[in-house]
């Protein structure tokens, strides 16, 4: 996920201190990697340099937490443009699951042993996510759903590929 975009998104509803941004980020994106404070301030520095955020209040005293940051009109326009712009579908298949399957096949395995252990690992994580979705808040449920669908897609792809291997072997080497 793009940290500058997430920070700008959080500032839409009003100015924040760096500490508040970190706390809100972790609450809104509960299944993402938590933001480090240093990352918040370095991101705010770059966004300020680019004119997308500005200091709206500087309280007396030392330390960055005394500074209140707000989004500029250029920042709001940047977000509006970003939200409606489609993301390009990934042009390359560069996934470690795919690589493992190819390497297993190159080593003479049919890949089914790898599928079994990967399915077990994925389902274990899916069970945790299903529980988190059930017991968590809306933000957690949304994040869990996203992760569940993607994990399922991984395993479905593995299963489909293995089911096809016999046919693929006749025409081309995998």
């Amino acid at each position: 996920m793009s940290t500058p975009i997430a920070v700008l998104g959080l500032l839409q509803s009003g100015p924040r201190h760096g500490y508040d941004l970190k706390r809100e980020h972790d609450a809104r994106f509960p299944l993402a990697k938590p933001l480090a404070f240093s990352q918040v301030y370095s991101t705010l520095g770059r966004l300020e340099r680019d004119g997308l955020v500005e200091v709206t209040e500087q309280q007396a005293g030392d330390g960055p937490d005394r500074t209140l940051f707000g989004i500029t009109e250029a920042g709001r326009q940047h977000l509006r443009d970003w939200v409606v712009e489609p993301e390009p579908p990934a042009p390359h298949v560069a996934n470690v699951l795919f690589t493992k399957l190819v390497v297993a096949r190159l080593g003479g395995s049919d890949g089914s042993a790898y599928l079994d252990v990967q399915r077990t690992a994925h389902l274990s994580r899916m069970r945790e996510l299903t529980e988190e979705r059930r017991s968590g808040d809306t933000a957690t449920a949304l994040g869990a759903d996203y992760a569940l669908f993607h994990l399922e897609a991984d395993v479905r792809w593995l299963e489909t590929t293995l089911a096809r291997l016999d046919t693929l072997d006749q025409g081309a080497q995998l």
Binding site: D116, M126, R127
Partner: protein, 229 residues
Amino acid sequence: MTAYLEARRLVTSFGSTPALRGADLAVAAGEIVAVLGPSGSGKSTLLHCLGGLLRPDAGEVHLDDLRIDTLDDRARTQLRRTSIGVLLQYGQLVPELTAEENVALPLLFGRRGRAEALAAGRTWLERLGVADVGAQRPGQLSGGQQQRVALARALVTEPRLVLADEPTGALDSVAAEQVMELLTGVARQSGTTVVLVTHDLRVASYADREVVLRDGQIVGAAVVGAGIA
């Protein structure tokens, strides 16, 4: 942990086509187990053997202390009426009956009084959040509502074991989620054992653990009760 439901070396063929080739499965009391596997791997056949709907060519099926594969038809039917709830992909509700009557059906077959059976049906419909459709016939219900009614029918006898064959296969993601929340919620609350056949990993993620069936055999070692405390 000891097994509550156990299949030992099950072998079944349809004509010259083998479906199960020595399948072993052991499930602890109160455990929810998902059976995964590609199409044609024998998942539904295994479920039918576990429920006494199909007699295996070889092997044994034990439910608690009872060996059920050697029971005669009448005894197996009686066992299904009292101890086993079955949930299928399309609900298989009787189209001429109301939702309430469909749910009451297993109790009526068990010679319970009509008023008592219908009252139990209403209670289960209410518990599964579809009390308002009790007077409607299946054709008037959405797929999700139909499957909740079918789930109520599977649970109305308060069975110790529920067997579910692709219970969400005909539903969209949200309706499937609701049915699985209800099924596993009731099962965990009442200690009901559930064996669930599915090809959907999101459905399988509601189970305590999964086993994989491939070419009529369970792949890998499964620890009984590994998924529950």
